[in-house]
């Protein structure tokens, strides 16, 4: 195979790199899309919620990290750190919703958006103030030397990202499609007042949505941190790109967020290889994709074009 003059072993390599990146975007994008589905509003602080959770996980892991205690111990505290990160993000997400968004539910569209931007700035700068701007290394819980598969090298961490991403997304899909709460969630996103009339506690569902979305973001944050370290602005660019992924797939659509994340991850990886876009301008790819998708198919790949009604 000689697509675009790339040797096939390199092609596989880029494919894997793109998929791991995409899995991370998908996990973050789910939070945007679920919140948008229910509240019709973009949670600008999502990336910062991710960052805060990752810091919580990082500090837990950092204080207990002790390579002399063996591999089982390390993996154990890593899983615990992951759970702590998820809990911290989920709590933060719910608290932010209660204080900064809930009072603005009936306000004009601009108000919650501005409030969310405010929250994201507060969180990023508080983190810089308390944890310092220097990036911190999140030690791998396992030996991360790469393996050779089909002429391309894959690190165990990449495999873990793919596996965890897959498990989380499958779990979420099952939850939303099969469980009673998932059904309540779908009902709330379709029609809030009617859902409330059917006895669904809308406020609880909204809190739950924020909690789940934020917890998924924290997972992505910890996985990201293993590769790219922990720092106060780690969530900003990842959050923006995940948002673009959500738009690409069709915002408000859970399947779309997963698909959009993967597509964006692959586009970014292959854009650098095939189009020869310099690394410094790599972020430009995602924003170009956003503008193109808004022009060509504003409701995203998986959504039907619905006209806005009065």
């Amino acid at each position: 195979m000689n697509l675009f003059n790339i040797p096939s072993n390199e092609l596989l390599q880029h494919l894997i790199n793109g998929l791991t990146l995409g899995a991370i975007y998908s996990l973050i994008a789910l939070g945007y899309t679920m919140v948008y589905g229910i509240l019709k509003f973009i949670n600008f602080a999502h990336g910062e919620i991710l960052m805060a959770g990752t810091y919580a996980g990082y500090y837990f892991y950092f204080f207990l990290y002790d390579p002399s205690k063996g591999a089982t111990y390390t993996i154990g505290i890593f899983i615990a750190a992951l759970l702590i990160a998820m809990t911290a993000s989920a709590l933060l997400g719910v608290i932010i919703e209660k204080f900064a968004y809930k009072p603005l539910r009936k306000a004009p569209r601009l108000a919650p958006l501005l409030s969310a931007i405010g929250v994201s700035i507060i969180l990023a700068n508080l983190a810089a103030l308390f944890f310092g701007t220097k990036s911190k290394k999140f030690e791998y819980p396992f030996d991360n030397s790469s393996m050779q598969i089909g002429g391309s090298s894959i690190t165990p961490n990449q495999l873990m990202i793919l596996a965890v991403g897959l498990i989380m997304m499958a779990g979420l899909k099952l939850f939303v499609d099969r469980s009673r709460l998932g059904k309540a969630m779908r009902a709330t996103s379709q029609n809030q007042p009617v859902a409330a009339l059917m006895g669904i506690n809308v406020n609880l569902i909204i809190s739950l949505t924020f909690a789940i979305g934020s917890a998924l973001a924290a997972v992505a944050g910890v996985l990201m941190a293993l590769e790219y370290k922990v720092y106060p602005t780690m969530g900003t660019m990842a959050g923006l790109k995940a948002f673009i992924a959500a738009v690409v797939g069709g915002i408000g659509n859970v399947n779309g967020a997963m698909l959009g994340g993967i597509i964006l991850g692959l586009l970014e990886t292959f854009g650098v290889v095939i189009l020869g876009i310099p690394q410094g301008l790599k972020d430009t790819i995602a924003f170009t994709v956003l503008i193109l998708i808004l022009l060509l198919r504003p409701s995203g790949i998986l959504m039907k074009n619905i006209r806005e009604k009065v």
């Binding site: 931007i117 994201s120 504003p298 806005e308």
Partner: protein, 306 residues
């Protein structure tokens, strides 16, 4: 000390031009734009390049800077303005980042992360101003502010302004009243970009240097805070907001305690301004001046009865 006060007045003036432009976009038309710093950067770099590499005068460069920024305003506006506000916010945020990245990487023109130094001052009545001539600068920039203020006042009190406010209140209703919403939205966006370009031009010429990292996302947020704090959709309030924000961010330096106060506190303050103003006083500290139609009608009837 006096020098520092003059400096603050100059910065207030420069930011006021940019925030008045943003207020036209966000306050009057209801579009959330997060790339005012990007337009400022385009204006500043255009002026810097034209004055250093092409040896043009300041005033020509300033006009070109404004028009170039508004050209980019049209370019970013056409694809995104057909869409709802949330998308526009993200697209403009992305555009701001792209501008910064291009400036950082386009070494041959922008000198990359080093920025451009040695930008000459503007010449006026045969003398060339330097950064030291602060009183003259204040006059020039505040003339700019006053012109901008009246320019925007003329716009918003005309048919155009009413169309913009109609779009802000309800876009669908506005378009069913025959308002070409895309045209007006792009118009507002372009005008705001033009003003940011002019502000950027002043910024470059006054500082005599430009560096890419000045024009980051936080600058856009700062300008947004100016409009939000004063009162969206009120030009006078925006100027008040600008004064408060610039004073608040320069106060530690003025009091000589800037080494104790970490820079993050400032930005945390901006964040709280956005959240608290939105929740408790969405119309800003000054508020929005509304035409009181009931009063007008009553007076008309009163006149008729007389």
């Amino acid at each position: 000390m006096l020098n520092f006060v003059l400096l603050i007045f100059i910065y207030i003036g420069i930011y006021a031009i940019a925030s008045l432009g943003l207020n036209l976009i966000v306050g009057y038309t209801g579009l959330l734009s997060l790339c005012q710093a990007g337009f400022l950067a385009i204006g500043a770099y255009t002026t810097a390049v034209l004055m250093t590499a092409c040896h043009m005068g300041f005033w020509e460069s300033m006009i070109i800077s404004g028009f170039l920024a508004s050209l980019f305003g049209i370019l970013i506006g056409i694809p995104t303005l057909r869409l709802k506000g949330d998308y526009l916010a993200i697209a403009t945020l992305g555009f701001g980042e792209i501008v910064k990245n291009v400036i950082l990487n386009w070494d041959s023109v922008t000198k990359g992360p080093m920025g451009i130094n040695g930008i000459p001052g503007p010449s006026i009545f045969g003398t060339t101003l330097s950064s030291m001539d602060k009183p003259e600068w204040i006059v020039i920039i505040w003339v700019g502010v006053v012109v901008t203020y009246y320019f925007i006042r003329r716009i918003v009190r005309s048919r155009i302004g009413r169309a913009l406010e109609a779009i802000r209140e309800d876009e669908i209703a506005a378009s069913s009243m025959g308002i070409n919403t895309a045209k007006y939205k792009i118009g507002a966006f372009t005008t705001g970009a033009f003003l940011a370009g002019i502000a950027g031009s002043f910024f470059a010429a006054f500082n005599q240097s430009v560096a890419p990292l000045t024009f980051d996302f936080m600058m856009s947020i700062m300008i947004l805070c100016m409009a939000v704090l004063g009162g969206l959709g009120n030009s006078f309030a925006t100027i008040i907001g600008t004064i408060i924000i610039v004073l608040a961010s320069e106060l530690p330096r003025l009091l000589g305690i800037s080494h104790i106060i970490p820079p993050q506190l400032n930005q945390i303050l901006f964040g709280f301004i956005l959240v608290l103003i939105m929740i408790y006083r969405p119309q800003g500290i000054i508020g929005r001046i509304k035409l009181n139609y009931a009063k007008i009608v009553k007076e008309e009837i009163f006149d008729l009865e007389k």
